[in-house]
Symmetry: C2
Subunit: 93 residues, 2 copies
C-alpha cells in the first residue's frame, strides 16, 4: 500500500487487501482508490476489487477505469523479462 | 475460443492464445478481439493481451476497453462460490 490511495496487491492474506480498500473509502473518505498489481497477482487484484466494490461497498463504489500495461526489467541472470501490470480505479458514486 | 472473435484463456500453452488473438486480426481480419478469462486465468489474459498487442501487433492494435465482473455458482459441495471474470477488448487502430 502506498500513500496516494493506492493498494498494491501481494501475497498477504486476501482480506487484508479488501479491508485496506474499504477503509480508504470509509475511514479516510478517499474519493478514489487504485488497486495495483503485477504478474500473477493481477487475478487477485480483480478479486479484491470485486469483493470490495460488490460485497462491502455495494451501490457506493464503482469501477471507474482499468488500465493494463507491461514493464520490462532485467532479472538476476541479466535476462530481459516482461511483466504485465494492472491498475483498477475504484470510485465513490 | 468461441465464434464471435473471443479467445477464452485456459491452461493450454501460452503462445496458443497469443497466436489465436493475432490470427483473428490478421487471417480473419477481425476489427476487434475479446480476450476472456475467469479466476486465476485473469493474469494470463492480461499477459496474452499485452504480448499480442505490444510484441506482435504493435502500432496496429490497442486496448479499447476492459471489463471486470463476478459470477456466482454452486460448487460440487452445494456451496455458493464467487469467481471474478475479465474481458479485454482489443481493437484494430
Amino acid at each position: 500500500m502506498t500513500g496516494d490511495n493506492s493498494v498494491f496487491i501481494g501475497n498477504k492474506p486476501f482480506m487484508n487487501y479488501v479491508t485496506s480498500v474499504v477503509m480508504q473509502f470509509t475511514t479516510k473518505n478517499a474519493p478514489e482508490v487504485i488497486v495495483k498489481a503485477r504478474g500473477k497477482f493481477i487475478s487477485r487484484a480483480v478479486d479484491v476489487s470485486e469483493v470490495a466494490a460488490k460485497r462491502f461497498l455495494d451501490k457506493q463504489v464503482d469501477v471507474k477505469e482499468i488500465k493494463i500495461d507491461s514493464e520490462e526489467f532485467e532479472n538476476k541472470e541479466g535476462k530481459r523479462v516482461r511483466v504485465s501490470t494492472i491498475e483498477i480505479v475504484l470510485k465513490k458514486k
